[in-house]
Symmetry: C2
Subunit: 184 residues, 2 copies
Amino acid sequence: MRADALKNHEKIVEAAAQVFTERGLDAPIDEIATRAGVGAGTLYRHFPTRDDLIDAVVKSWMSQIDAAADEAIASDNSARDTLMAWFETYVTRISRNRGGPAKITSAMGNTDSPIFSKCETLRLANDRVLSRLRERGLLRDGVESLEVCRLVGGVAVVADQAALSPESVSSMLSVLINGLIDEK
Amino acid sequence: MRADALKNHEKIVEAAAQVFTERGLDAPIDEIATRAGVGAGTLYRHFPTRDDLIDAVVKSWMSQIDAAADEAIASDNSARDTLMAWFETYVTRISRNRGGPAKITSAMGNTDSPIFSKCETLRLANDRVLSRLRERGLLRDGVESLEVCRLVGGVAVVADQAALSPESVSSMLSVLINGLIDEK
DNA sequence: ACCTGAACACCGTTCAAGT
DNA sequence: ACCTGAACACCGTTCAAGT
């Protein structure tokens, strides 16, 4: 890769991160190109589809997910508290940009989506948390990680699109958690 | 209203119902106008926003919702079976057109959405089913109808956008139901 | 009073011409 | 090898001209 191409690549990702934050994941591509100071064609050369661009932007804040999962696993809190803290982190992360929950949750389990690997990171982190609780005998049988990601993602999508308060989200997550934990 | 205006109104709603079924609720407005045989301006005169048009189309199949709720209430099935049948009907109805779950669920509880009254129909029908189960002592405390509509709607949104199978939907609804019923 | 459709605006995407 | 930006396509929305 030539030096100017590399530089442009960086500038585009940086601009995209800004624009996505301000205007959501559906923001005009052209504004990103302008903000990055490159022509539209250059942007398309580096990122043929919007999803490729999203993938590049999401990359940076996905690593924090693993740390959050580790923290949830380490704690000796009740299953309820563990799941609530973890799910709230999950929702917050994927909701960082408007349109994020829908984009990420609908790509979940879809192998040929450009952002599939990011979804896998999420799914595997979630699986680790669930597995830990299962070991402790706190989870109902037959709950699958992918399914839980979709349920929690569904809550995030609705909250994102209807601009719901964090309290509404917690309250919805609470119902989900009731459905997941084994109360003996 | 003049006779030709009335006729056009009907033709537009009819065309919209067709086009929405074929191409989803985000289908090009212009195709609806063409199919109805009217100019774009005429369509906009009758329905200033897309939501106004959606409202008119949704009207017809919303009445069936009340019947489904009545049926759910009348049965002496277990809380689980009652809710599963009702939620599946709920999801099917709002998923009739692609994009329907997102449109309807994000308008839920939003007083100044053009389709608010349709959402109220859904919410009230759901409330009747929940109330009946609560009377029988089968429901956990503190579950609100609006919240349940959003949770079930969230499942429908994800299923719609990720093209999930009916089995996946049932399985997700099952988790929700676990979280709603009081197992003593 | 209502309708038409050309016109404008906006945005995604491509590609000929440049360096 | 990579970049630019004009050009094209598509679609939403308006409005002057018509009946």
